[in-house]
């Protein structure tokens, strides 16, 4: 099923935050979400970046196993 493409836990968290913070009916004027003192967005970005790296690593391994040059995923040189 489509939902099995990636490990969905970080994805679901990121989607949850997008959905609940950005959407929904507004009853009394506008709602301002302050994140100034909260690590919410930083945490969000961290888990999403982790998820993306996981997917890219899996893709790299798959391509290497197939004997292809890694064409679409940039591989950074070792530090």
């Amino acid at each position: 099923m489509p939902g099995d493409v990636v490990n969905s836990a970080p994805l679901e968290l990121s989607d949850l935050i997008n959905r609940v913070l950005d959407k929904g009916a507004v009853i009394a004027g506008s709602v301002t979400i302050s994140v100034g003192d909260i690590d919410l967005i930083q945490l969000d970005l961290t888990v999403v970046l982790t998820a993306i790296e996981t997917v890219r690593s899996a893709e790299r391994r798959r391509r290497e196993l197939q004997g292809h040059v890694n064409a679409d995923v940039p591989v950074l040189p070792p530090e």
Partner: protein, 241 residues
């Protein structure tokens, strides 16, 4: 004590006993202007944390399971007391009623892409200039750059990847719309936020499985790294945005 608002509904379904929301407060119902509002007490202004966002969504999910489709309210709306909630609902009764009618009997599915569904060809530099290759992060002479140039090229590549993902997301959305047109009650264009691209779709509650199958069939024909999340209370079809 301030009142925190989660969702509205037009039926008379009460919150299940013991249901808790933000900061563990018990959820109760307020009747006003023909609506049933699910609320809880809060100690102060509610700032966003992951736990609170999860709690808000859990209450809306419980409301969805309890009866007719609720109108989910955006995170963070607090009122001085229950009476103020009732006054707010009365002031917006007409528009809220039309939104409840719009989502009646439906749920939101969210289709999420994590990366570009159209990766570069196996030889991305063929036919392209060195500049193009550099912007694509595939400089044909790797190792020639200093660390600063390499860093900028990585940034450029990320920018292109974001753009490609958003364009690709729209293509996928159109393909799924064609395949599942009869199952889609409403949809919005793709958005990109916080590292992912996604689009929300409104489907009838009894047709979620059929919609999933239609998406799976589309992906079988057009393989795409897509995740289908949901069903949810229809946040994306409830608001002003």
């Amino acid at each position: 004590m301030p009142t925190y608002l989660y969702c509205l509904r037009s039926d008379r379904a009460e919150p299940p006993g013991g249901l808790t929301g933000v900061d563990g407060a018990v959820v109760h119902a307020i009747h006003a202007s023909g609506f049933m509002a699910w609320v809880s007490d809060v100690a102060e202004k509610v700032t966003p944390t992951v736990d609170r966002v999860k709690a808000h969504d859990a209450v809306c999910a419980a409301a969805l399971a309890a009866g007719e489709t609720p109108l989910p309210v955006r995170f963070g709306q607090t009122f001085p007391d229950d009476t103020s909630v009732a006054q707010g609902l009365a002031a917006r009764e007409s528009v809220l009623r039309s939104r409840l009618a719009r989502i009646a009997g439906c749920v939101e599915m969210r289709l999420v892409l994590l990366r570009d569904p159209h990766p570069a060809s196996e030889n991305p530099t063929a036919g392209a200039s060195n500049l193009d290759a550099a912007w694509a992060g595939t400089d044909p002479s790797p190792g020639a750059d200093g660390p600063g140039t390499a860093f900028l090229k990585r940034l450029a590549h990320r920018g292109r990847a974001d753009l490609a993902r958003e364009v690709g997301c729209e293509e996928v959305r159109h393909a799924i719309r064609s395949a599942a047109m009869s199952l889609i009650v409403g949809q919005h264009p793709c958005e990109s936020a916080r590292g992912i691209s996604f689009f929300p779709v409104l489907v009838r509650r009894g047709e979620v499985d059929a919609f999933r199958l239609a998406v799976a069939e589309t992906l079988r024909i057009k393989p795409t790294p897509l995740s289908v999340l949901g069903p949810f209370a229809p946040y994306s079809f409830a608001g002003d945005a």
